[in-house]
């Protein structure tokens, strides 16, 4: 019944987009219109001045840091909305209730692996501005380690280790940390989220403590993402 209209709609959109794309700049052109002075500024500026080798991290946390604050807020909103929906749900009707695994190998291996995963996550967060990575990637790895703990040892023990209230507080506080770093820019006499413009020392290119506020923001985002992941999973596992 809804097959035909949906199919026609999709074909119509496909036709319009095919029309548009057949005249769009070809794929992979080095002189494509999007490769303009804006892009070159990011890359050249990075090479010579701000001293953050990972340009993507620099864009995310510095040039377009305001968008990233919005992005962290979207994560916060999703956790809030999901927590409000799942508050007071039992998790019983969804398949069988989630319990700890009784597989010895699984438990032993997880016990050994989790600390290393966490250290790697922290490494990716902390070195996000000098190498591939960043707060989002590292936070996901850190959250992944806690997710592994949840799946192997069950939601009850996870909540005992990391009470839900702590997770929520970490979530809100890490998001507010971003705002605080931004307000720091105003206090230093520049604009919101200002980095070098506010006189924050940028440090030596390629070293751990470099890039000014990028490092601070990355740390907050890492905690935020990790807290988001574990909060969502604990809620979905029905431990409220």
């Amino acid at each position: 019944m809804r097959q035909l209209p949906a199919f026609l709609l999709v074909v119509a959109i496909a036709y319009v987009l095919a029309l548009a794309l057949s005249e769009a700049p070809a794929f992979g052109r080095v002189d494509a219109p999007a490769r303009n002075e804006v892009m070159r500024f990011y890359l050249d500026e990075e090479c010579e001045q701000s001293g953050i080798p990972n340009t993507v991290t620099a864009i995310i946390f510095d040039y377009r840091g305001y968008d990233t604050m919005g992005e962290a807020t979207v994560l916060f909103t999703a956790v809030g909305a999901a927590a409000a929906v799942l508050a007071g749900h039992s998790g019983t009707l969804v398949a069988r209730p989630m319990a700890a695994s009784d597989d010895v190998i699984l438990r032993m291996v997880s016990r050994m692996v989790i600390p290393f995963v966490q250290i790697f996550g922290i490494y990716v967060i902390v070195y996000g501005h000098v190498s591939p990575g960043g707060g989002f990637a590292g936070g996901t790895i850190l959250g992944g380690s806690m997710a592994l703990y949840l799946f192997v040892f069950g939601p009850k023990r996870t909540v005992k280790k990391l009470p839900l209230a702590w997770g929520e507080i970490a979530d809100g506080a890490a998001a507010f940390w971003y705002v605080l770093v931004g307000l720091g820019g105003i206090l230093l006499g520049a604009n919101f989220l200002a980095n070098a413009a506010a006189g924050v020392p940028l440090g030596v290119r390629g070293q751990l403590f470099s890039g000014g506020t990028i490092w601070l923001i990355g740390l907050g985002v890492g905690v935020k993402v990790a807290a988001t992941i574990i909060n969502l999973l604990v809620h979905l596992a029905g431990e409220t």
């Binding site: 548009a20 999007a34 303009n36 990011y42 840091g65 305001y66 999703a78 929906v85 604009n191 200002a194």
Partner: protein
């Protein structure tokens, strides 16, 4: 003082982050929310005073100049909307203090305050965005928060409505993101001012790509603002939410898409070729559809809140229709109608909420003689209904007057006729309700329930007073709005 432009968004955001940290006990969440909203209102008022004379604040976040960094732009248009949006929020938050807690468990209640503030932050962020991608991010914040405040209510119809809204707004987000990336592909810019200068040349080289991108953006934001054939999510979502949430969703959240499109069409795409400029006219045709079919659907509803929700579809149609002629006078009317509808519909949903809170009745047929039990609430409801129809001395009349004048001035008498006709149709579904409420006989006499508590009544009556004030002395507001429309159209 320029920092106010960013604080306008940052204050409600911080409030939302505070709630799970400091608002874990009892009434603290409410106090944080109210304090935050009052601060935001003060901030918006200061911005309105600064920008009312036509001066726009351009704020460079992180001190990076426009093509590289994110720019925020607060002009008379965004400051005016921000001020009234946060003012309405004060009333809604104050109303929620008594209405919401008994419907929600403590955890959900805490997140309700947080999500309300996030919704406000998203709306204000959309109003002050001057960068396509930043616009997208704040669009997503408000969309997710809007779904969230529907689903805090633990009932099947709310959950289903929230899911439907979420999936459709994900499709809309996909369209918007694809449109943005097509535009970026051919221009290499995301900032509004740079796009406006780059687009005319680019549109000559890649006309179909630009047109497809604009069509995708219009579809996405049309869906988010419930433009006629894309409005299917709205009746369920707005009628199944808690009453204060409905007031915010119907009054404010659907307007964000309109604000985004106004800015895009009036300032970014205005210098582009005729094809792109014809798009508002197309939106106008859809708007007429919404005004007629929305009214017909509203007439057949038996549930009070569903009727109000369909009425929103109609009023969205007015705003798009007045916008589509791209005339300063009509645009003045359209912007004023954004605020007027927000006040009126907010008040109608809150008074419906009061009626439901006190009597538990939400079927239109059960409301006979309700005025004998709740006269003050019914006065507010009557002002709202009169404003919706456009009776003189209410604010609805002023905005409709300007919309009609503007459409006539732009040489579109047909549009003016549609506006008048649709007002007549609104009378057909609002007045029977009001007449039955005042003069109908209550089904069970003697069972006199007192009026709602003062803490719930004053927000509703305050909004009613605001409607009358805007209706009787519209002069100062109109002068600010004339400025806003002029700035928006770049004339």
């Amino acid at each position: 003082m320029d920092h106010l432009a960013v604080l306008l968004v940052v204050i409600p955001l911080s409030g939302a982050f505070f709630v799970p940290v400091f608002g874990r006990q009892g009434g603290r969440g409410y106090r944080i929310a109210l304090g935050t909203v009052l601060l935001t209102t003060g901030c918006a008022a200061a911005l309105l005073i600064i920008t009312a004379r036509g001066q726009a604040i351009s704020y460079l976040v992180g001190d990076w100049p426009p093509p590289w960094g994110v720019e925020l732009r607060v002009d008379a248009f965004s400051a005016f909307l921000s001020f009234f949006f946060s003012l309405i929020y004060v009333a809604v938050i104050a109303f929620s203090a008594r209405d919401v807690p008994h419907d929600l468990n403590p955890a959900a209640l805490r997140w309700y305050w947080s999500l309300m503030l996030l919704l406000l932050a998203g709306l204000l962020g959309v109003a002050s965005a001057a960068d396509l991608f930043n616009l997208f991010v704040f669009t997503e914040i408000y969309s997710l928060a809007a779904c969230g405040i529907i689903s805090v209510r633990d009932r099947m119809d709310s959950l289903e409505a929230a899911l439907k809204y979420l999936l459709l707004s994900a499709v809309a987000a996909g369209c918007i993101l694809l449109g943005i990336s097509l535009i970026y592909m051919v221009t290499g810019h995301l900032n509004y001012a740079y796009l406006a200068t780059a687009l005319p040349d680019v549109a000559a080289g890649y006309p179909r790509t630009v047109l497809a991108a604009v069509a995708l953006l219009a579809t996405g934001y049309g869906m988010k603002s419930a433009l006629f054939p894309l409005h299917i999510w709205l009746p369920d979502a707005h009628s199944s939410a808690l009453s204060p949430a409905s007031a915010v969703l119907s009054g404010l959240a659907v307007k964000a898409g309109i604000i985004a499109l106004f800015r895009l069409f009036a300032s970014v795409l205005s210098a582009s070729p005729a094809v792109v400029r014809a798009m508002p006219a197309f939106l106008g045709v859809l708007a007429v559809g919404g005004m007629i079919f929305g009214a017909l659907f509203a007439m057949t509803q038996t549930d009070l809140k569903r009727m109000l929700a369909y009425s929103t579809v109609v009023q969205i149609g007015y705003i798009y229709l007045a916008f589509s002629v791209l005339n300063p006078v009509a645009l003045t009317g359209a912007i004023l109608h954004i605020v007027n509808h927000a006040l009126l519909k907010g008040m109608l949903f809150l008074s419906a909420g009061l009626i439901i809170h006190r009597t538990g009745k939400r079927r239109i047929a059960d409301l006979h003689g309700i005025a004998r039990q709740m006269p003050l609430t019914m006065i507010a409801f009557t002002i709202g209904a009169m404003g919706m129809v456009g009776i003189p001395l209410t604010n609805g009349f002023v905005s409709k007057w300007y919309m009609v004048l503007g459409t006539l001035e732009a040489g579109q008498p047909l549009a003016a006729v549609v506006i008048l006709l649709s007002s007549l149709l609104s009378a057909l579904y609002y007045f029977p309700l009001v007449i039955a409420g005042w003069f109908g006989s209550p089904p069970a006499p003697g069972q006199a329930r007192p009026e709602g508590p003062p803490s719930m009544l004053w927000p509703v009556l305050g909004m009613g007073a605001a409607c009358l004030i805007l209706g009787v002395i519209p002069g100062p507001v109109i002068s600010v709005l004339g400025e806003a429309a002029r700035v928006l159209l770049g004339r």
